[in-house]
Symmetry: C3
Subunit: 271 residues, 3 copies
């Protein structure tokens, strides 16, 4: 598939429909995630209380689960919301923040994946690969490794086993459903020097999936989200290569990037 | 009343007194709310633990309650703080974030309003009108409707029934105590594309009420807060019409807007 | 000691080693703290759940405890993490946000200091001096007083009694281990008009201590952290004297300040 017209059309649907994206996410990035979703054109809501998550997700176009700053009672809320989303065929994105750093986070990922069908698993290389190898240790929430060819093979195997899309952020992002593999060559290292930019990509992936044609369309939607997002980073770096002004410009670019910029700058390849 | 001299004098009192504003608010907007209050000239504090809210509110000039990212145990803390504020005649602002989206939030608003006297109820149209009509459904935390003439009438009735000021943000903000109705024609649609700008207005309303002459002065104080805040948005849009740089400029304008700008730009009318 | 070469060398170590800084901190400043640490060159993680704090701190170069937006169960997690850090000889920074405002916060500081060895106690003048005098009352989280000569003497006595470094932010920061006293004359009043800038200094102090030579090197590391941080404020004010754009510029300066700027601008004196 030619990702340029797909991404243009997906972004247009997103901005016209302004889907509600229900986030159960960590305290550090709640504001940034909301601002990123608003800039792209989606409508964010954060709600984590067990008493309301099923009702809230029923109004939503996608559910985004994120295990940063985890508390044990939040895992139960995530599972309740995830099962409801599954029943309503609403895409579920899981961001395994800090998996590979502590047992609590590893257990949380296993519990959520055992109890809900995940549409897209989005993380950095060490977070994702720690799920398949006990040797991978994450440095807090920052990746401890780059994605090698062996890492891509492991991601493909994980996608097949878990029956989900595995999407790994890095120097060249990698998205696989276990069969197809797409790489995104857009993006800037400075994006890792602003908190919430990775988590924001999980949320934007949810927004693109919310306007895709069913779960089968979510692979292309994920590739489009990654390409669009990284391309906005490429545009923002032209304004500033320092993190404060870079992030402000990045929000502006999420808001004003359109067909022309996507045609000129998108660098996605299927391998 | 001519709102121009009132607003100038109220802002001057606020900046000289720097009242402490006690917020029990949601995780998404805590930082933004604090920065908005600091920019205006107030002194924010966030405290939600039942063991300290009564002591903290006793030091404060206003209490701001906000039910976004609600947990059930926070409602109890809000009621404790609200009752203490009532006893000390400290104004209480309630922001019913997401009312009309879930039963949890609807119940929380009813509980808080049954147990505390609210000075100002500040929300968007669907949040506020969902309190009087079961037909109004909020899209997460974003309004699903504009304020019609029937909506204004419903807001007036709610203000009389609940004996509070009802203040609704929108294309033309509407503030009523059940008898008088003021509209504010300042403001920019882009303000809805940055998270926390609505919640920040609730907090700024608290800051203006903190320096008003008793609860009877809180109607004018609320109108002044709405006018000043929206006017800062009008000034910020001259710097940028993109959300990242717009919000940065908005904080700058909350800090540097003074008598001259209020005289030149304030658009408040009593209807 | 000449602080210029020390600060240059410490910053270089920090950026090369990118130490993991484990924060158990308040909801208001989590994002800002993470962005400040990332801009300086450290790797932040926020984790507060009792089930993971000991494992997380074991990966870290420093632990930063901050009692803003306190809940009672977090104190227990802070003590667990602090004791583990003590056992592993990892520096522990305590920021007593709002001490002197409520009994809950005063008790929390006493409990943490009784159960863990604190390396650096970092706060504003009324927060720190409230620990030694019941007469000092903090206005929410903002200081109610400037540091007098009597205040410096009280800080020295506290440092000796508690066997920790006491570091007080203000017009002229004051750092003492009970014997030596250093003052930092860099810094801008506008830094108090952006939330999280004080808490961010506690985190940056943790980052400098993480790359110091054992606890004995933490006094110089704390002075270096204070000098570097305030100097970045002096550079940022040249870009803007309004809080929104100032803070964005401050993050940029934390990222790009190097040896030349430290040589030209650092104003630290031992008294």
């Amino acid at each position: 598939m030619d990702m340029v017209p797909y991404t243009i059309a997906a972004l247009d649907r997103l901005r016209r429909q302004a889907p509600l994206i229900h986030n159960i996410t960590n305290f550090v990035v709640m504001e940034t995630t909301a601002n990123i979703l608003l800039a792209v054109g989606a409508s964010p809501v954060m709600a984590h209380c067990r008493a309301e998550v099923e009702e809230m997700v029923s109004l939503a176009g996608a559910l985004v689960l994120n295990i940063g700053t985890l508390q044990e009672d939040w895992v139960e809320a995530m599972c309740l919301a995830g099962k409801k989303a599954n029943a309503l065929r609403i895409p579920v994105i899981l961001d395994p923040v800090g998996a590979g750093a502590t047992q609590l986070r590893n257990r949380a990922v296993r519990t959520i994946m055992a109890r809900c069908r995940i549409t897209v698993l989005r993380g950095n290389a060490s977070e994702v690969l720690s799920l398949v190898s006990a040797d991978v240790r994450t440095k807090g929430v920052d990746s401890s490794l780059d994605l090698s060819d062996a890492g891509v093979a492991a991601a493909k195997a994980l996608a097949r086993d878990a029956r989900c899309i595995v999407a790994i952020s890095g120097a060249a992002d990698c998205i696989t459903d276990g069969h197809r593999v797409c790489r995104v060559d857009n993006g800037q290292p400075l994006m890792t020097r602003v908190t919430g930019v990775g988590c924001g990509l999980s949320a934007v992936t949810g927004a693109f999936c919310a306007v895709a044609d069913g779960n089968t369309g979510c692979f292309d939607a994920t590739v489009a989200a990654f390409g669009f997002y990284a391309l906005c980073g490429d545009r923002a770096i032209r304004t500033s290569d320092k993190p404060g002004t870079f992030f402000t410009a990045f929000l502006d670019r999420l808001y004003d990037t359109g067909p022309d910029e996507i045609r000129a700058l998108l660098k996605v390849r299927e391998t």
